[in-house]
Protein backbone atom coordinates (compact mmCIF):
# COMPACT_ATOMS: atom_id res chain seq x y z
CA UNK A 1 0.00 0.00 0.00
CA UNK A 2 2.84 2.43 -0.54
CA UNK A 3 2.01 3.29 -4.13
CA UNK A 4 2.55 6.94 -4.97
CA UNK A 5 -0.15 8.90 -6.78
CA UNK A 6 0.99 11.43 -9.35
CA UNK A 7 1.17 15.01 -8.22
CA UNK A 8 -0.61 17.05 -10.85
CA UNK A 9 2.40 19.30 -11.31
CA UNK A 10 4.40 16.32 -12.55
CA UNK A 11 1.95 15.18 -15.22
CA UNK A 12 2.19 15.97 -18.91
CA UNK A 13 -1.25 16.72 -20.29
CA UNK A 14 -2.53 14.94 -23.39
CA UNK A 15 -3.32 16.83 -26.56
CA UNK A 16 -6.87 18.25 -26.12
CA UNK A 17 -7.81 16.87 -29.55
CA UNK A 18 -7.32 13.35 -28.19
CA UNK A 19 -9.68 13.68 -25.24
CA UNK A 20 -13.46 13.70 -25.41
CA UNK A 21 -13.44 16.53 -22.87
CA UNK A 22 -10.35 18.60 -22.24
CA UNK A 23 -10.28 21.35 -19.63
CA UNK A 24 -7.14 23.49 -19.82
CA UNK A 25 -5.97 26.12 -17.36
CA UNK A 26 -9.58 27.00 -16.55
CA UNK A 27 -10.38 29.99 -14.38
CA UNK A 28 -14.05 30.31 -13.47
CA UNK A 29 -16.36 31.31 -10.65
CA UNK A 30 -19.56 33.11 -9.81
CA UNK A 31 -19.84 36.83 -10.51
CA UNK A 32 -16.69 38.40 -9.07
CA UNK A 33 -15.78 35.39 -6.98
CA UNK A 34 -13.14 33.21 -8.58
CA UNK A 35 -13.34 29.56 -7.54
CA UNK A 36 -11.25 27.66 -10.09
CA UNK A 37 -7.64 28.61 -10.57
CA UNK A 38 -6.04 27.01 -13.61
CA UNK A 39 -7.77 23.62 -13.54
CA UNK A 40 -6.73 20.93 -16.05
CA UNK A 41 -8.85 17.86 -16.58
CA UNK A 42 -9.48 15.24 -19.25
CA UNK A 43 -12.19 12.69 -19.90
CA UNK A 44 -11.55 10.16 -22.65
CA UNK A 45 -14.15 8.42 -24.79
CA UNK A 46 -16.24 6.19 -22.51
CA UNK A 47 -14.03 6.96 -19.52
CA UNK A 48 -15.28 7.15 -15.92
CA UNK A 49 -13.70 10.06 -14.08
CA UNK A 50 -14.28 11.08 -10.47
CA UNK A 51 -13.43 14.39 -8.83
CA UNK A 52 -12.83 14.31 -5.08
CA UNK A 53 -11.56 16.83 -2.59
CA UNK A 54 -12.50 18.75 0.54
CA UNK A 55 -15.58 20.96 0.79
CA UNK A 56 -15.25 24.18 -1.14
CA UNK A 57 -12.53 22.82 -3.40
CA UNK A 58 -14.57 23.69 -6.47
CA UNK A 59 -15.53 20.15 -7.51
CA UNK A 60 -19.07 21.01 -8.54
CA UNK A 61 -17.84 24.25 -10.06
CA UNK A 62 -15.72 22.29 -12.54
CA UNK A 63 -18.79 20.49 -13.81
CA UNK A 64 -20.92 23.60 -13.84
CA UNK A 65 -18.19 25.36 -15.81
CA UNK A 66 -18.10 22.56 -18.37
CA UNK A 67 -21.84 22.96 -18.71
CA UNK A 68 -21.70 26.75 -19.10
CA UNK A 69 -23.28 27.62 -15.75
CA UNK A 70 -20.47 29.71 -14.25
CA UNK A 71 -18.73 32.96 -15.06
CA UNK A 72 -15.89 32.23 -17.46
CA UNK A 73 -12.62 33.90 -16.51
CA UNK A 74 -9.97 32.27 -18.69
CA UNK A 75 -8.62 29.03 -20.10
CA UNK A 76 -10.42 26.61 -22.38
CA UNK A 77 -12.91 23.76 -22.43
CA UNK A 78 -12.93 21.58 -25.54
CA UNK A 79 -15.48 18.89 -26.17
CA UNK A 80 -15.08 16.57 -29.12
CA UNK A 81 -12.56 19.02 -30.58
CA UNK A 82 -14.85 22.06 -30.28
CA UNK A 83 -14.35 24.97 -27.92
CA UNK A 84 -17.39 25.23 -25.60
CA UNK A 85 -16.18 27.44 -22.75
CA UNK A 86 -18.32 30.44 -23.71
CA UNK A 87 -21.42 28.53 -24.80
CA UNK A 88 -24.82 28.45 -23.08
CA UNK A 89 -26.18 25.26 -21.45
CA UNK A 90 -28.87 24.78 -24.11
CA UNK A 91 -26.14 24.87 -26.78
CA UNK A 92 -23.86 22.54 -24.85
CA UNK A 93 -26.68 19.99 -24.58
CA UNK A 94 -26.71 19.87 -28.38
CA UNK A 95 -23.02 18.94 -28.34
CA UNK A 96 -23.78 15.77 -26.41
CA UNK A 97 -23.28 16.54 -22.72
CA UNK A 98 -25.93 15.71 -20.12
CA UNK A 99 -25.89 17.26 -16.65
CA UNK A 100 -27.60 16.08 -13.48
CA UNK A 101 -27.57 18.79 -10.79
CA UNK A 102 -27.27 17.78 -7.17
CA UNK A 103 -30.46 19.27 -5.76
CA UNK A 104 -33.97 19.79 -7.10
CA UNK A 105 -33.11 17.86 -10.20
CA UNK A 106 -36.61 16.78 -11.23
CA UNK A 107 -39.71 18.83 -12.12
CA UNK A 108 -41.79 17.92 -9.11
CA UNK A 109 -45.20 18.85 -10.53
CA UNK A 110 -44.69 17.05 -13.84
CA UNK A 111 -45.27 13.36 -14.28
CA UNK A 112 -42.33 10.97 -14.57
CA UNK A 113 -42.92 10.60 -18.28
CA UNK A 114 -43.23 14.35 -18.80
CA UNK A 115 -39.91 14.80 -17.02
CA UNK A 116 -38.31 12.44 -19.52
CA UNK A 117 -40.00 14.25 -22.42
CA UNK A 118 -38.54 17.54 -21.20
CA UNK A 119 -35.10 15.94 -21.40
CA UNK A 120 -35.60 15.61 -25.14
CA UNK A 121 -37.21 19.03 -25.62
CA UNK A 122 -34.74 20.07 -28.32
CA UNK A 123 -35.86 17.18 -30.55
CA UNK A 124 -38.89 17.71 -32.76
CA UNK A 125 -40.66 14.55 -31.68
CA UNK A 126 -40.76 12.66 -28.43
CA UNK A 127 -38.18 9.87 -28.91
CA UNK A 128 -40.23 6.85 -27.85
CA UNK A 129 -37.31 4.47 -28.34
CA UNK A 130 -35.15 6.49 -25.97
CA UNK A 131 -37.93 6.61 -23.36
CA UNK A 132 -38.14 2.82 -23.65
CA UNK A 133 -34.38 2.58 -23.23
CA UNK A 134 -34.56 4.67 -20.05
CA UNK A 135 -37.47 2.54 -18.78
CA UNK A 136 -35.39 -0.61 -19.47
CA UNK A 137 -32.55 0.82 -17.44
CA UNK A 138 -34.80 2.03 -14.60
CA UNK A 139 -37.92 -0.19 -14.59
CA UNK A 140 -39.34 1.63 -11.55
CA UNK A 141 -39.76 4.73 -13.71
CA UNK A 142 -42.03 2.86 -16.09
CA UNK A 143 -44.13 1.65 -13.18
CA UNK A 144 -44.44 5.22 -11.94
CA UNK A 145 -44.66 6.89 -15.34
CA UNK A 146 -47.92 8.78 -14.67
CA UNK A 147 -47.11 9.73 -11.09
CA UNK A 148 -45.85 13.26 -10.44
CA UNK A 149 -42.13 13.32 -9.83
CA UNK A 150 -42.54 15.11 -6.52
CA UNK A 151 -44.12 11.99 -5.04
CA UNK A 152 -41.11 9.77 -5.81
CA UNK A 153 -38.57 8.77 -3.17
CA UNK A 154 -35.15 10.37 -3.18
CA UNK A 155 -33.55 7.41 -4.95
CA UNK A 156 -36.26 7.29 -7.57
CA UNK A 157 -35.95 11.03 -8.19
CA UNK A 158 -32.21 10.55 -8.69
CA UNK A 159 -32.90 7.82 -11.24
CA UNK A 160 -35.42 10.06 -12.99
CA UNK A 161 -32.91 12.91 -13.11
CA UNK A 162 -30.34 10.56 -14.68
CA UNK A 163 -32.95 9.19 -17.05
CA UNK A 164 -33.82 12.69 -18.14
CA UNK A 165 -30.17 13.52 -18.78
CA UNK A 166 -29.84 10.31 -20.82
CA UNK A 167 -32.79 11.18 -23.08
CA UNK A 168 -30.50 12.70 -25.72
CA UNK A 169 -28.07 9.77 -25.47
CA UNK A 170 -25.15 12.02 -24.47
CA UNK A 171 -21.49 11.11 -24.98
CA UNK A 172 -20.64 12.54 -21.57
CA UNK A 173 -22.77 12.55 -18.44
CA UNK A 174 -21.96 15.00 -15.63
CA UNK A 175 -23.18 13.80 -12.22
CA UNK A 176 -23.10 16.10 -9.19
CA UNK A 177 -23.09 13.98 -6.03
CA UNK A 178 -25.57 11.35 -7.18
CA UNK A 179 -25.50 9.59 -3.81
CA UNK A 180 -26.22 12.71 -1.74
CA UNK A 181 -29.16 12.24 0.58
CA UNK A 182 -29.68 8.57 -0.28
CA UNK A 183 -30.11 5.82 2.30
CA UNK A 184 -26.90 3.72 2.65
CA UNK A 185 -28.37 0.64 0.98
CA UNK A 186 -29.41 2.75 -2.02
CA UNK A 187 -25.96 4.28 -2.44
CA UNK A 188 -24.53 0.94 -3.57
CA UNK A 189 -27.39 0.51 -6.05
CA UNK A 190 -26.85 4.00 -7.42
CA UNK A 191 -23.16 3.28 -8.04
CA UNK A 192 -24.12 0.05 -9.81
CA UNK A 193 -26.47 2.00 -12.08
CA UNK A 194 -23.74 4.48 -12.92
CA UNK A 195 -21.38 1.58 -13.71
CA UNK A 196 -24.08 0.26 -16.05
CA UNK A 197 -24.45 3.60 -17.85
CA UNK A 198 -20.69 3.81 -18.25
CA UNK A 199 -20.38 0.22 -19.49
CA UNK A 200 -22.88 1.03 -22.22
CA UNK A 201 -20.44 3.56 -23.61
CA UNK A 202 -21.31 6.90 -21.98
CA UNK A 203 -18.36 8.71 -20.47
CA UNK A 204 -19.03 9.84 -16.90
CA UNK A 205 -17.61 12.74 -14.93
CA UNK A 206 -18.75 12.66 -11.33
CA UNK A 207 -18.31 14.63 -8.13
CA UNK A 208 -18.83 12.45 -5.10
CA UNK A 209 -18.67 12.84 -1.31
CA UNK A 210 -18.49 9.10 -0.99
CA UNK A 211 -14.93 9.30 -2.28
CA UNK A 212 -13.59 5.84 -1.48
CA UNK A 213 -16.42 3.98 -3.15
CA UNK A 214 -16.32 6.32 -6.15
CA UNK A 215 -12.55 5.90 -6.57
CA UNK A 216 -12.88 2.10 -6.34
CA UNK A 217 -15.24 2.12 -9.30
CA UNK A 218 -13.84 4.82 -11.58
CA UNK A 219 -11.11 4.67 -14.23
CA UNK A 220 -9.33 7.80 -13.10
CA UNK A 221 -9.68 10.34 -10.33
CA UNK A 222 -8.71 13.92 -9.67
CA UNK A 223 -8.08 15.42 -6.25
CA UNK A 224 -8.97 19.09 -6.24
CA UNK A 225 -7.94 21.48 -3.47
CA UNK A 226 -8.85 25.17 -3.29
CA UNK A 227 -9.71 25.36 -6.95
CA UNK A 228 -6.48 23.70 -8.12
CA UNK A 229 -5.44 20.23 -9.21
CA UNK A 230 -3.51 18.37 -6.49
CA UNK A 231 -3.35 14.72 -7.54
CA UNK A 232 -4.50 12.78 -10.55
CA UNK A 233 -4.14 9.08 -11.24
CA UNK A 234 -6.10 5.88 -11.61
CA UNK A 235 -8.65 5.31 -8.89
CA UNK A 236 -6.69 2.39 -7.44
CA UNK A 237 -3.45 4.35 -7.22
CA UNK A 238 -5.15 7.28 -5.51
CA UNK A 239 -6.77 4.90 -3.02
CA UNK A 240 -3.42 3.27 -2.32
CA UNK A 241 -1.50 6.51 -1.86
CA UNK A 242 -0.62 7.23 1.78
CA UNK A 243 -0.81 11.01 1.47
CA UNK A 244 -4.07 11.02 -0.44
CA UNK A 245 -5.64 8.63 2.07
CA UNK A 246 -4.58 10.66 5.06
CA UNK A 247 -5.38 14.06 3.68
CA UNK A 248 -8.61 13.42 1.78
CA UNK A 249 -10.04 10.00 2.45
CA UNK A 250 -9.98 9.98 6.25
CA UNK A 251 -7.06 7.52 6.64
Amino acid sequence: MSQQASRSTAVTLPDPAESLLAVRDLDAGYGDLQVLDGVDMDVGDGEYVVIVGPNGAGKSTVMKSVFGLTTYMGGSVTFDGREISKRRPDEIIHEGIGYVPQNENVFGSLSVRENLEMGAYILDDVPEAQIEAVYDRFPILEERSTQTAGTLSGGQQQMLAMGRALMLDPDLLLLDEPSAGLAPDLVEEMFDRIDGINEDGTAVMMVEQNAKEALRRCDRGYVLVQGRNRYQDTGETLLADQDVRQEFLGG
Partner: protein
Amino acid sequence: MGIAESVSEGRRLAVERPGVGVLAVVLLYLVVDLLVKLSGTTVLAYGIPLVGGSLSTGSLLSMLLDGLLVGLAVGLAGIGLSMTYSILDFANFAHGDTVTAGAFLGWVAASLTATAGADAALSERFLFDAGRQLGAASALLPILVGLVAAAVGTVGVVLLIDRLTYRPMRGADNISLLIASIGVALALRYLIAFVFGTQTSGVASSSVRFQILPGLAVTDNELALLFVSASLMVGVHLLLQRTKLGKAMRAMADNEDLARVTGIPTERVVRFTWILGGALAGVGGYLLVLESGTISFNFGWIRLLLIFAAVIVGGIGSIYGAMAGGVLIGLVDSLALIWLPSGLTRAAAFAVLIVVLLLRPSGIFGGVSTA
Protein backbone atom coordinates in the same frame (compact mmCIF):
# COMPACT_ATOMS: atom_id res chain seq x y z
CA MET B 1 -67.69 7.00 12.02
CA GLY B 2 -70.14 7.01 14.89
CA ILE B 3 -71.94 10.10 16.09
CA ALA B 4 -69.95 10.16 19.32
CA GLU B 5 -66.71 10.14 17.35
CA SER B 6 -67.92 12.91 15.06
CA VAL B 7 -68.87 14.98 18.06
CA SER B 8 -65.52 14.48 19.75
CA GLU B 9 -63.77 15.19 16.45
CA GLY B 10 -65.81 18.39 16.16
CA ARG B 11 -64.94 19.33 19.74
CA ARG B 12 -61.24 18.79 19.09
CA LEU B 13 -61.44 20.99 15.99
CA ALA B 14 -63.30 23.70 17.90
CA VAL B 15 -60.60 23.76 20.55
CA GLU B 16 -57.59 23.57 18.26
CA ARG B 17 -58.79 25.83 15.48
CA PRO B 18 -61.46 28.17 16.88
CA GLY B 19 -61.43 30.17 13.64
CA VAL B 20 -62.79 27.18 11.76
CA GLY B 21 -65.58 26.86 14.32
CA VAL B 22 -66.55 30.52 14.03
CA LEU B 23 -66.49 30.22 10.28
CA ALA B 24 -68.69 27.13 10.38
CA VAL B 25 -71.20 28.95 12.58
CA VAL B 26 -71.27 31.96 10.24
CA LEU B 27 -71.71 29.72 7.19
CA LEU B 28 -74.43 27.75 8.91
CA TYR B 29 -76.25 30.98 9.79
CA LEU B 30 -75.99 32.19 6.18
CA VAL B 31 -77.31 28.91 4.80
CA VAL B 32 -80.23 28.80 7.27
CA ASP B 33 -80.96 32.46 6.58
CA LEU B 34 -80.89 31.82 2.85
CA LEU B 35 -83.32 28.91 3.16
CA VAL B 36 -85.69 30.91 5.35
CA LYS B 37 -85.48 33.83 2.93
CA LEU B 38 -86.35 31.54 0.05
CA SER B 39 -89.41 30.33 1.95
CA GLY B 40 -90.43 33.98 2.21
CA THR B 41 -90.86 34.12 5.99
CA THR B 42 -89.12 36.29 8.54
CA VAL B 43 -88.25 35.18 12.04
CA LEU B 44 -88.28 38.04 14.49
CA ALA B 45 -86.68 38.22 17.90
CA TYR B 46 -87.86 41.16 20.01
CA GLY B 47 -88.99 42.90 16.86
CA ILE B 48 -85.60 42.60 15.17
CA PRO B 49 -85.51 40.39 12.07
CA LEU B 50 -83.25 37.48 13.01
CA VAL B 51 -83.34 35.39 9.89
CA GLY B 52 -85.35 35.48 6.72
CA GLY B 53 -86.79 38.14 4.49
CA SER B 54 -87.80 37.59 0.95
CA LEU B 55 -85.84 36.25 -1.95
CA SER B 56 -87.24 34.45 -4.95
CA THR B 57 -85.58 31.34 -6.32
CA GLY B 58 -85.38 33.10 -9.65
CA SER B 59 -83.37 36.02 -8.32
CA LEU B 60 -81.05 33.64 -6.44
CA LEU B 61 -80.43 31.74 -9.67
CA SER B 62 -79.80 34.90 -11.63
CA MET B 63 -77.35 36.04 -8.94
CA LEU B 64 -75.57 32.71 -9.29
CA LEU B 65 -75.48 33.14 -13.06
CA ASP B 66 -74.18 36.70 -12.77
CA GLY B 67 -71.49 35.59 -10.37
CA LEU B 68 -70.48 32.72 -12.60
CA LEU B 69 -70.25 34.98 -15.65
CA VAL B 70 -68.17 37.68 -14.00
CA GLY B 71 -66.12 34.96 -12.34
CA LEU B 72 -65.30 33.24 -15.61
CA ALA B 73 -64.13 36.49 -17.20
CA VAL B 74 -62.12 37.38 -14.10
CA GLY B 75 -60.64 33.89 -14.05
CA LEU B 76 -59.68 34.19 -17.69
CA ALA B 77 -57.94 37.50 -17.04
CA GLY B 78 -56.36 35.98 -13.93
CA ILE B 79 -54.66 33.16 -15.82
CA GLY B 80 -52.27 35.62 -17.42
CA LEU B 81 -51.51 37.25 -14.09
CA SER B 82 -50.85 33.89 -12.47
CA MET B 83 -48.64 32.75 -15.32
CA THR B 84 -46.46 35.85 -15.31
CA TYR B 85 -46.15 35.41 -11.57
CA SER B 86 -45.04 31.80 -11.70
CA ILE B 87 -42.92 31.85 -14.86
CA LEU B 88 -41.55 35.37 -14.91
CA ASP B 89 -41.60 35.60 -11.13
CA PHE B 90 -43.20 38.98 -10.53
CA ALA B 91 -46.58 40.50 -9.73
CA ASN B 92 -47.58 42.36 -12.86
CA PHE B 93 -49.52 45.46 -11.84
CA ALA B 94 -49.97 46.41 -15.48
CA HIS B 95 -52.18 43.39 -15.99
CA GLY B 96 -55.39 45.29 -15.23
CA ASP B 97 -54.58 47.89 -17.85
CA THR B 98 -53.67 45.14 -20.28
CA VAL B 99 -57.23 43.94 -19.73
CA THR B 100 -58.49 47.47 -20.49
CA ALA B 101 -56.31 47.69 -23.58
CA GLY B 102 -57.70 44.40 -24.84
CA ALA B 103 -61.26 45.57 -24.27
CA PHE B 104 -60.69 48.84 -26.14
CA LEU B 105 -58.91 47.15 -29.05
CA GLY B 106 -61.66 44.57 -29.32
CA TRP B 107 -64.54 47.02 -29.12
CA VAL B 108 -62.93 49.42 -31.57
CA ALA B 109 -62.62 46.53 -34.01
CA ALA B 110 -66.20 45.44 -33.33
CA SER B 111 -67.46 48.98 -33.79
CA LEU B 112 -65.53 49.45 -37.04
CA THR B 113 -66.86 46.16 -38.39
CA ALA B 114 -70.43 46.98 -37.40
CA THR B 115 -70.29 50.30 -39.23
CA ALA B 116 -68.34 49.06 -42.24
CA GLY B 117 -69.85 50.61 -45.32
CA ALA B 118 -71.81 53.11 -43.27
CA ASP B 119 -71.59 56.70 -44.38
CA ALA B 120 -69.87 58.09 -41.33
CA ALA B 121 -66.59 59.74 -40.51
CA LEU B 122 -63.88 57.35 -39.32
CA SER B 123 -63.59 59.18 -36.00
CA GLU B 124 -67.28 58.63 -35.40
CA ARG B 125 -67.06 54.93 -36.17
CA PHE B 126 -63.86 54.60 -34.18
CA LEU B 127 -64.93 56.26 -30.96
CA PHE B 128 -67.63 55.11 -28.62
CA ASP B 129 -69.71 58.26 -28.18
CA ALA B 130 -72.19 57.48 -30.96
CA GLY B 131 -74.40 55.51 -28.63
CA ARG B 132 -73.99 52.39 -30.73
CA GLN B 133 -74.60 49.21 -28.76
CA LEU B 134 -73.82 45.76 -30.02
CA GLY B 135 -75.25 42.39 -29.03
CA ALA B 136 -74.04 38.91 -29.85
CA ALA B 137 -77.25 37.87 -31.56
CA SER B 138 -77.85 41.00 -33.60
CA ALA B 139 -74.24 41.68 -34.49
CA LEU B 140 -72.49 38.32 -34.37
CA LEU B 141 -69.81 39.10 -36.93
CA PRO B 142 -68.65 42.38 -35.33
CA ILE B 143 -68.61 40.68 -31.92
CA LEU B 144 -66.49 37.82 -33.26
CA VAL B 145 -64.13 40.20 -35.08
CA GLY B 146 -63.81 42.15 -31.85
CA LEU B 147 -63.02 38.99 -29.91
CA VAL B 148 -60.19 38.05 -32.26
CA ALA B 149 -58.93 41.63 -32.33
CA ALA B 150 -58.93 41.75 -28.53
CA ALA B 151 -56.79 38.60 -28.39
CA VAL B 152 -54.40 39.47 -31.21
CA GLY B 153 -54.16 43.16 -30.39
CA THR B 154 -53.39 42.54 -26.73
CA VAL B 155 -50.68 40.07 -27.69
CA GLY B 156 -49.13 42.83 -29.77
CA VAL B 157 -49.36 45.32 -26.91
CA VAL B 158 -47.92 42.87 -24.43
CA LEU B 159 -45.01 41.83 -26.66
CA LEU B 160 -44.20 45.45 -27.32
CA ILE B 161 -44.21 46.19 -23.59
CA ASP B 162 -42.03 43.15 -22.93
CA ARG B 163 -39.58 44.23 -25.62
CA LEU B 164 -39.40 47.84 -24.39
CA THR B 165 -39.55 47.34 -20.65
CA TYR B 166 -39.11 43.89 -19.23
CA ARG B 167 -36.60 42.26 -21.56
CA PRO B 168 -33.89 44.83 -20.85
CA MET B 169 -34.58 44.06 -17.18
CA ARG B 170 -34.60 40.26 -17.41
CA GLY B 171 -32.79 38.97 -14.36
CA ALA B 172 -33.59 42.09 -12.36
CA ASP B 173 -35.10 41.38 -8.96
CA ASN B 174 -38.86 41.06 -8.76
CA ILE B 175 -39.37 44.31 -6.83
CA SER B 176 -37.81 46.30 -9.68
CA LEU B 177 -40.02 44.45 -12.15
CA LEU B 178 -43.09 45.12 -10.02
CA ILE B 179 -42.33 48.84 -9.90
CA ALA B 180 -41.66 48.90 -13.62
CA SER B 181 -45.04 47.28 -14.14
CA ILE B 182 -46.73 50.07 -12.18
CA GLY B 183 -45.11 52.53 -14.57
CA VAL B 184 -46.33 50.49 -17.51
CA ALA B 185 -49.82 50.45 -15.98
CA LEU B 186 -49.94 54.24 -15.69
CA ALA B 187 -48.56 54.80 -19.18
CA LEU B 188 -51.03 52.40 -20.72
CA ARG B 189 -54.02 53.73 -18.80
CA TYR B 190 -53.44 57.37 -19.67
CA LEU B 191 -52.57 56.56 -23.25
CA ILE B 192 -56.03 55.01 -23.49
CA ALA B 193 -57.56 58.03 -21.72
CA PHE B 194 -55.71 60.33 -24.14
CA VAL B 195 -57.23 58.62 -27.16
CA PHE B 196 -60.68 57.71 -25.91
CA GLY B 197 -61.33 60.18 -23.12
CA THR B 198 -62.21 59.47 -19.52
CA GLN B 199 -65.99 59.07 -19.84
CA THR B 200 -67.79 55.77 -19.50
CA SER B 201 -69.38 54.68 -22.75
CA GLY B 202 -72.07 52.10 -23.35
CA VAL B 203 -70.96 49.79 -26.13
CA ALA B 204 -72.78 46.52 -25.66
CA SER B 205 -76.33 45.58 -24.93
CA SER B 206 -78.06 42.29 -25.33
CA SER B 207 -80.79 41.98 -27.92
CA VAL B 208 -82.21 38.56 -27.08
CA ARG B 209 -83.21 36.97 -23.78
CA PHE B 210 -83.63 33.25 -23.38
CA GLN B 211 -85.95 32.20 -20.58
CA ILE B 212 -84.35 29.09 -19.08
CA LEU B 213 -86.42 28.75 -15.93
CA PRO B 214 -89.20 30.89 -14.54
CA GLY B 215 -87.43 33.94 -13.21
CA LEU B 216 -84.10 33.05 -14.82
CA ALA B 217 -83.22 34.48 -18.18
CA VAL B 218 -79.90 34.54 -19.97
CA THR B 219 -79.03 37.02 -22.66
CA ASP B 220 -77.19 36.37 -25.90
CA ASN B 221 -74.18 38.31 -24.62
CA GLU B 222 -74.06 36.25 -21.44
CA LEU B 223 -74.23 33.05 -23.45
CA ALA B 224 -71.36 34.27 -25.62
CA LEU B 225 -69.29 34.98 -22.50
CA LEU B 226 -70.12 31.59 -21.01
CA PHE B 227 -69.25 29.72 -24.19
CA VAL B 228 -66.06 31.61 -25.03
CA SER B 229 -64.58 31.61 -21.53
CA ALA B 230 -65.42 27.98 -20.81
CA SER B 231 -63.92 26.80 -24.09
CA LEU B 232 -60.80 28.93 -23.61
CA MET B 233 -60.30 27.42 -20.17
CA VAL B 234 -60.60 23.92 -21.58
CA GLY B 235 -58.19 25.00 -24.31
CA VAL B 236 -55.64 26.25 -21.77
CA HIS B 237 -55.98 22.99 -19.85
CA LEU B 238 -55.31 20.93 -22.98
CA LEU B 239 -52.41 23.15 -23.93
CA LEU B 240 -50.75 22.73 -20.54
CA GLN B 241 -51.31 18.99 -20.30
CA ARG B 242 -50.94 17.78 -23.87
CA THR B 243 -48.55 20.00 -25.79
CA LYS B 244 -44.80 20.14 -25.57
CA LEU B 245 -44.81 23.90 -25.10
CA GLY B 246 -47.43 23.67 -22.37
CA LYS B 247 -45.42 21.06 -20.53
CA ALA B 248 -42.35 23.25 -20.87
CA MET B 249 -44.30 26.13 -19.35
CA ARG B 250 -45.20 23.96 -16.38
CA ALA B 251 -41.60 22.78 -16.13
CA MET B 252 -40.37 26.36 -16.13
CA ALA B 253 -42.91 27.44 -13.54
CA ASP B 254 -41.67 24.53 -11.46
CA ASN B 255 -37.92 25.17 -11.64
CA GLU B 256 -36.46 27.68 -14.05
CA ASP B 257 -32.81 26.74 -13.48
CA LEU B 258 -33.49 23.09 -14.10
CA ALA B 259 -35.48 23.98 -17.22
CA ARG B 260 -32.43 25.80 -18.53
CA VAL B 261 -30.00 22.93 -17.89
CA THR B 262 -32.50 20.51 -19.39
CA GLY B 263 -32.27 22.37 -22.68
CA ILE B 264 -35.67 24.06 -22.68
CA PRO B 265 -35.34 27.35 -24.60
CA THR B 266 -36.46 29.51 -21.70
CA GLU B 267 -36.61 32.82 -23.57
CA ARG B 268 -39.03 31.30 -26.07
CA VAL B 269 -41.20 29.96 -23.26
CA VAL B 270 -41.21 33.41 -21.65
CA ARG B 271 -42.34 35.00 -24.90
CA PHE B 272 -45.09 32.43 -25.26
CA THR B 273 -46.18 33.08 -21.68
CA TRP B 274 -46.65 36.75 -22.54
CA ILE B 275 -48.53 35.82 -25.70
CA LEU B 276 -50.93 33.46 -23.99
CA GLY B 277 -51.40 35.58 -20.88
CA GLY B 278 -51.92 38.70 -22.99
CA ALA B 279 -54.44 37.05 -25.29
CA LEU B 280 -56.46 35.74 -22.35
CA ALA B 281 -56.33 39.09 -20.57
CA GLY B 282 -57.54 40.85 -23.71
CA VAL B 283 -60.36 38.40 -24.23
CA GLY B 284 -61.25 38.57 -20.53
CA GLY B 285 -61.52 42.37 -20.73
CA TYR B 286 -63.53 42.21 -23.92
CA LEU B 287 -65.95 39.73 -22.37
CA LEU B 288 -66.30 41.76 -19.16
CA VAL B 289 -67.44 44.69 -21.27
CA LEU B 290 -69.77 42.44 -23.25
CA GLU B 291 -71.38 41.41 -19.99
CA SER B 292 -71.55 44.79 -18.24
CA GLY B 293 -72.24 46.81 -21.39
CA THR B 294 -69.98 49.73 -20.54
CA ILE B 295 -66.34 50.54 -21.06
CA SER B 296 -64.09 53.16 -19.51
CA PHE B 297 -60.37 53.82 -19.50
CA ASN B 298 -59.79 52.54 -15.97
CA PHE B 299 -62.17 49.60 -15.64
CA GLY B 300 -59.34 47.04 -15.83
CA TRP B 301 -57.38 48.87 -13.18
CA ILE B 302 -60.42 48.87 -10.90
CA ARG B 303 -60.90 45.17 -11.51
CA LEU B 304 -57.22 44.38 -10.99
CA LEU B 305 -57.71 44.00 -7.24
CA LEU B 306 -60.53 41.56 -7.89
CA ILE B 307 -58.34 39.66 -10.35
CA PHE B 308 -55.51 39.60 -7.82
CA ALA B 309 -57.94 38.34 -5.20
CA ALA B 310 -59.06 35.57 -7.55
CA VAL B 311 -55.50 34.55 -8.33
CA ILE B 312 -54.43 34.62 -4.69
CA VAL B 313 -57.50 32.72 -3.48
CA GLY B 314 -56.76 30.05 -6.08
CA GLY B 315 -53.09 29.91 -5.13
CA ILE B 316 -50.86 32.37 -6.95
CA GLY B 317 -48.89 30.71 -9.72
CA SER B 318 -51.51 28.04 -10.25
CA ILE B 319 -53.45 28.41 -13.49
CA TYR B 320 -56.25 26.12 -12.37
CA GLY B 321 -56.32 28.12 -9.16
CA ALA B 322 -56.84 31.32 -11.15
CA MET B 323 -59.84 29.79 -12.91
CA ALA B 324 -61.37 28.40 -9.71
CA GLY B 325 -60.53 31.55 -7.75
CA GLY B 326 -62.13 33.73 -10.40
CA VAL B 327 -65.38 31.80 -10.25
CA LEU B 328 -65.36 31.78 -6.43
CA ILE B 329 -64.71 35.51 -6.18
CA GLY B 330 -67.33 36.23 -8.84
CA LEU B 331 -69.93 34.16 -7.02
CA VAL B 332 -69.17 35.75 -3.67
CA ASP B 333 -69.25 39.23 -5.16
CA SER B 334 -72.67 38.49 -6.61
CA LEU B 335 -74.23 36.44 -3.80
CA ALA B 336 -73.19 38.94 -1.16
CA LEU B 337 -76.00 41.13 -2.54
CA ILE B 338 -78.40 38.91 -0.62
CA TRP B 339 -77.08 40.25 2.67
CA LEU B 340 -75.17 43.40 1.88
CA PRO B 341 -75.93 46.67 0.11
CA SER B 342 -74.41 46.67 -3.37
CA GLY B 343 -71.56 48.99 -2.41
CA LEU B 344 -70.21 46.45 0.05
CA THR B 345 -70.13 43.28 -2.04
CA ARG B 346 -66.52 43.92 -3.03
CA ALA B 347 -65.67 43.89 0.67
CA ALA B 348 -67.28 40.45 0.96
CA ALA B 349 -65.07 39.19 -1.87
CA PHE B 350 -61.98 40.35 0.00
CA ALA B 351 -63.28 38.95 3.28
CA VAL B 352 -63.46 35.57 1.55
CA LEU B 353 -59.91 36.11 0.32
CA ILE B 354 -58.75 36.70 3.90
CA VAL B 355 -60.66 33.70 5.22
CA VAL B 356 -59.24 31.39 2.54
CA LEU B 357 -55.72 32.62 3.27
CA LEU B 358 -56.21 32.04 7.01
CA LEU B 359 -57.32 28.48 6.40
CA ARG B 360 -54.98 27.69 3.50
CA PRO B 361 -52.16 30.22 3.42
CA SER B 362 -50.99 29.17 -0.03
CA GLY B 363 -54.43 29.35 -1.63
CA ILE B 364 -56.82 26.65 -2.73
CA PHE B 365 -54.54 25.13 -5.34
CA GLY B 366 -51.31 26.50 -3.88
CA GLY B 367 -48.52 23.96 -3.60
CA VAL B 368 -50.60 21.28 -5.30
CA SER B 369 -49.44 21.81 -8.83
CA THR B 370 -47.67 24.85 -10.07
CA ALA B 371 -49.08 25.35 -13.50
